[in-house]
Amino acid sequence: MRKLAAILLIFCLTLPLVFAADVEDLLGPEEEKEIPTRYIYFGATPIKDALTAKSQAPETILKQATDTTMKKEEYPYTIEKTEIKIIKFRCDDKMGICGYWVEATRGGREVQTNSPIWISPPPYEVVISEVYDSKVNENVVTIKEDPKLAVERVLQGYVDRQPLGEATVGTKE
């Protein structure tokens, strides 16, 4: 009797585990369900507004916005908390993009960059926070228009992908 009770106890205790293990199978391959995302803009959005207004071609708007922002910097300057130095930049009206001449090190050793680095289209938005709101089951993403920070992040990603080695500079200024 005691044996039977022990067996029943074990059975009862392990039953949820079995269910837990098979729940996915039991449920079957569900349709992929994405958590809804809501975007919130932080600060003014002149670039987004201009793109929406379609007053000019998108590449023109983005190029001008980047050009205006980046011209405010004094070159060369080092991207904050990185070993990446932006030597100079130039925007190409015809292509509608901007290129950056960089020098970078990783642990003090030179990174094999190939400047200029042209970015198309010119980035201008950065995510400054992404929060999941469990009450309403949605992601809340806060965005800020910041062409300079967006450029710096893309360049940082580029440098991170590059191997160590001697940097080269393109022939056309």
Binding site: G28, M95, N114, S115, W118, V141, V154, G170
Partner: protein, 503 residues
């Protein structure tokens, strides 16, 4: 040859080794996922037409597979489509490397580990993907295969290195569409069937507001160097040789500029030739000896840049010819003292200088000249004719005879057998007769080496006149020693004289 080859290789290495590259990071202009729900076998799931294919950005891009829950059939094959505007790559650029980076994560993870790979894609309109593009792809793999297990963080890009085929596939004048697929899908190898399992791989799509998380195509390319406007250096060490007559052999050292193409050469300011970059000499032939010729050159590179600095040199070739053969003639060879003789140079092979010796211790360097002989006797005349190729002597012994030319007596007479009048005041008279004419002669030298000869001119009224000085060599027949055979004539004359005196 080895040195030249080494230099060429060194220049190539220096040039290529310093080739620089640009980088272009492009986010897609269009992207979406291609989804099929053929229901059926693996092969059908892979190849069959789908009923729920579409391109939309309402989802993250996917490259995945699932097996049907209840019917035990393969269901839903998804592929991620990316279109990059690659017209930004300069037309004259050479793409050296490229990679596609995606951020993503693996969802469900029930079918097992597998690889992802990019292949070609041919949508009808890359600027606006449509559901009808679902089957317009190729199985040509354009990237390495990346195991799905590496996608563990949604915030990190994972890179698919594009292969050489992809570098050619990238369209520099249009869009370059790529498709992200499972390796199973590409090589048509069915995954292990597990009923009711899901396997999806999601990536961030281009409309993700965080630009740093968007997929990208990163291209490294080199552009031709900017137009070369620097001409090559000039030639150096220009020199010439005129060792051979009527020829000039110019030689020089070419510049070391890698793009040096040819030397532009003028001959006396008239275009002569464009000489290749390996030519270091030029032989000018059939020139006129003694005339100046000027070599003028400029250097030109492969793009046509000309060094405007002239490098000039002038040289004079020698004439071709032979050693002179000296000779001369005189207008008289027998003259009286203090008379002149005109000597005419008749040397051949164009002598350029002359040296005369007249046998009287006088010389001259004129070509033709008149010489005064102021002493008597025989004189040896010599001429040395010289030109660039040598000299020659002509010696003529006893060529000129100079006589004292003592004046003859005041009267001239002739012998007339019937009426003879002879001035016998001089002991130097002698009655002579040659073969044609009777006469007398008057000795003006020793041994009758020269004399005046009085001849009877055969006119109606014979008039005795003094003839010219007779040279014994030409008048030997009337020399005294030749008159022995006419002894009786002499005796007759002497007899007549005696008779006349007595009478």
């Amino acid at each position: 040859m080895i040195t030249r080859s080494f230099l060429c290789i060194l220049l190539f290495v220096l040039l290529v080794g310093t080739v620089s590259a640009d980088t272009l990071i492009i986010n897609p202009t269009q992207d979406g996922f291609l989804k099929r729900e053929p229901y059926g076998t693996w092969v059908n799931a892979r190849n069959g037409a789908g009923s729920d294919s579409g391109f939309t950005n309402s989802y993250n891009l996917a490259a995945g597979l699932r097996s049907d829950t209840t019917e035990n059939l393969w269901q839903v094959m998804s592929r991620g489509a990316y279109v990059f505007n690659t017209t930004l790559i300069p037309d004259d650029a050479t793409i050296t490397s490229a990679k596609i980076g995606v951020t993503g994560y693996r969802q469900w993870s029930q079918i097992g580990y597998y690889n992802l790979v990019f292949t070609g894609f041919n949508p009808s309109n890359p600027s606006s993907l449509a559901t009808s593009d679902y089957n317009k792809f190729t199985d040509t793999e354009y990237s390495d295969r990346v195991n799905i297990s590496v996608f563990s963080s949604m915030d990190t890009h994972y890179n698919f290195t594009l292969n050489s085929g992809a570098l050619s596939y990238i369209n520099k004048t249009g869009n370059s569409p790529f498709l992200l697929r499972q390796s199973w899908d590409v090589d048509n190898s069915s995954p292990v069937w597990v009923s009711g399992k899901l396997e999806y791989f999601y990536t961030n799509y281009n409309e993700n507001v965080d630009s740093t998380l968007r997929p990208f195509l990163e291209i490294t390319y080199t552009e031709p160097p900017p137009p070369d406007t620097t001409p090559p250096a000039s030639i150096t060490n220009l020199s010439n040789s005129t060792a051979t007559c009527q020829e000039i052999n110019w030689s020089w050292t070419n510049p070391v500029d890698a793009d040096f193409n040819h030397t532009y050469v003028l001959k006396d300011n008239v275009f002569y030739n464009n000489l290749s970059n390996t030519t270091t000499f030029s032989l000018w032939q059939n020139l006129t000896g003694g005339q100046n010729y000027t070599f003028s050159s400029k250097t030109v590179d492969t793009t046509g840049n000309m060094n405007e600095t002239w490098v000039n040199m002038t040289a004079t070739p020698t004439a071709c010819g032979f050693t002179p053969v000296a000779n001369f003639i005189a207008n008289a060879t027998s003259i009286c003292i203090n008379e002149t003789v005109f000597f005419n140079d008749t040397s051949t092979n164009i002598p350029t200088s002359w040296y005369w010796m007249f046998g009287d211790n006088t010389t001259s360097t004129d070509q033709n000249l008149t010489h005064l002989f102021n002493t008597t006797g025989f004189f040896n005349i010599s001429l040395k004719a010289t030109n660039a190729f040598g000299n020659d002597w002509e010696n003529k012994t006893n060529y000129i005879y100079v006589d004292a030319c003592t004046p003859p007596p005041s009267g001239c007479f002739f012998v007339n057998l019937t009426n003879i009048t002879v001035d016998v005041s001089s002991v130097d008279w002698e009655i002579t007769q040659d073969l044609a004419t009777w006469g007398v002669r008057y000795n003006i030298s020793e041994n009758w080496s020269s004399y005046y000869y009085c001849i009877l001119t055969p006119t109606p009224t014979p008039i005795p006149t003094w003839g010219p000085v007779i040279n014994p060599s030409t008048e030997s027949d009337i020399r005294p020693d030749n008159l022995i055979g006419y002894w009786w004539v002499g005796a007759l004359i002497v007899g007549i004289i005696v008779v006349f005196r007595k009478w």
